[in-house]
């Protein structure tokens, strides 16, 4: 799947999202932008976050911007530090590429993962795709998740769209979080 396989209207939508992301200077703006991506990949839910990720140490969540994930799920997720059990986050820590959840779940069949997945499923988070960027200089990682409550999984088409916009969304969340011009990303 390459960018040339996207339709003209999809290319326009991708460029508009990128333009939005470049102009993001507040949490509200980024909130609007991730909702736009959610529509573009036909998802029901969207959320993003930024974490400090020092080598060998556990993640320290710096900020979470919720587009449309169930609030109750996010509360439980943060209170119980479920990101330490979430297969998608665990996978992201090892391979910072865009993941289709269906692919990731195949590698995590341990009990911790199964319990987590059942709980997520109860909140309607059945399918999804997640991506982000790890900035080794700042030791920060971003995560952008788009989920659906239908049975139909996301495909390579959606993955391509997310691949294209993620670097710009990463810059945006860094900029919003630091309230500056993305200094930590300057050497990316």
């Amino acid at each position: 799947m390459e960018a040339k396989d996207l339709s003209k209207s999809e290319l326009i939508a991708v460029l508009e999202v990128i333009e939005d992301a470049v102009g993001c200077d507040s949490e509200a703006a980024l909130h609007g932008t991730i909702l736009r991506v959610k529509e573009l990949v036909c998802a029901d839910y969207a959320v993003c976050g930024l974490a400090r990720a020092p080598a060998g140490d556990p993640l320290e969540v710096l900020t979470v911007i919720n587009g449309s994930y169930p609030e109750e799920w996010l509360r439980v997720y943060m209170d119980e530090r479920l990101y330490t059990k979430d297969p998608v986050v665990r996978h992201h820590a090892r391979f910072t590429t865009t993941q289709l959840w269906t692919d990731t779940f195949r590698f995590y069949r341990d009990e911790t993962s199964s319990t987590f997945l059942h709980r997520a499923y109860d909140f309607g988070l059945k399918n999804g795709l997640t991506s982000g960027v790890f900035d080794p200089v700042a030791q920060k990682t971003s995560l952008f998740s788009f989920a659906g409550d239908g049975e139909e999984a996301f495909g390579v088409h959606h993955k391509k769209v997310v691949d294209l916009v993620i670097p710009h969304l990463h810059r945006a969340i860094i900029k919003v979080f630091e309230g500056a011009t993305g200094v930590s990303s300057m050497l990316m």
Binding site: S7, L15, E16, E19, R171, M186, L187
Partner: protein, 248 residues
């Protein structure tokens, strides 16, 4: 921004430049981006630069990245500080945004701009389109100039630059900052001491006495400094070091 007027191919090329701009790490990669934009706007030549802005004018050129402007022209431009007479620069650093050269020529049609235009046209620089962004802060700005020998630039090309230039401006800032950091990191503490004394006009013998090292070692350091800064002689090395704030 209205993207609907662009063809599928143009949108793909625009996206390609945007994606390249966010990933570019060095000047070679940046030149590849300039080449892609040059093709998109149907120009023959491309050059870009960063400068310091004072009172709506370019006060100092900080960095130039040249794709294929004639070296002879750029050397004359730098040596004679022609940016002070260049109507494109005058227009760009006052208003920023994207302009056809013809628009700048109308705004600044008197001397010394008129003479400059005649000089530029002798180098085949007759028609063109320029764009740039002010920032970060009010004292820095960029200019991206695309020139051609034929009159072919239109508002369509202006719209392409309107989309792309904010992305490549950020990329240019990043590439220049990275290059500066690498250069600074490349000079050792001893080399920095040596070049600082070179700037003070000290001879090799005097530097050797001040630093309590042999004159031969001083020459060794100077040769390394010249290599690292890509300087042709000692004076050139000092000029580059001052330009890049390696010495005070």
């Amino acid at each position: 921004m209205n993207y609907k007027e662009f063809t599928h191919k143009e949108l793909l090329n625009i996206l390609d430049v945007v994606q390249s701009a966010i990933r570019v790490k060095d000047e070679t990669g940046f030149c590849t981006i300039l080449e892609k934009i040059r093709e998109l706007v149907c120009a023959d030549y491309a050059v870009c630069g960063l400068g310091e802005v004072r009172k709506d004018r370019l006060s100092r050129i900080v960095r130039i990245v040249n794709l294929n402007y004639s070296d002879e022209w750029l050397n004359a431009y730098a040596a004679e500080k022609l940016f002070q007479k260049d109507p494109i620069i005058r227009c760009q650093f006052q208003f920023f945004g994207t302009h056809l050269w013809s628009e700048a020529f109308k705004l600044f049609s008197e001397e010394p701009y008129l003479r400059f235009m005649h000089l530029a046209s002798d180098f085949g620089l007759k028609y063109g389109i320029a764009s740039g962004v002010n920032g970060p802060g009010l004292d820095t700005g960029s200019i991206f100039s695309f020139a051609g020998e034929k009159k072919r630039f239109t508002t369509h090309h202006k719209k392409i630059l309107d989309i792309l230039i904010p992305h490549v401006h950020q990329a240019l800032l990043r590439v220049c900052r990275r290059a500066d950091l690498l250069t600074r990191a490349a000079l050792t503490e001893r080399e920095k001491e040596v070049i600082q004394w070179m700037k003070e006009g000290k001879t090799n013998w005097e530097i050797s006495k001040i630093l309590n090292i042999s004159e031969r070692t001083v020459k060794f350091h100077i040769r390394n400094i010249q290599d690292k800064l890509d300087a042709v002689n000692k004076t050139h090395a000092v000029a580059i070091a001052m330009e890049q704030s390696l010495i005070s």
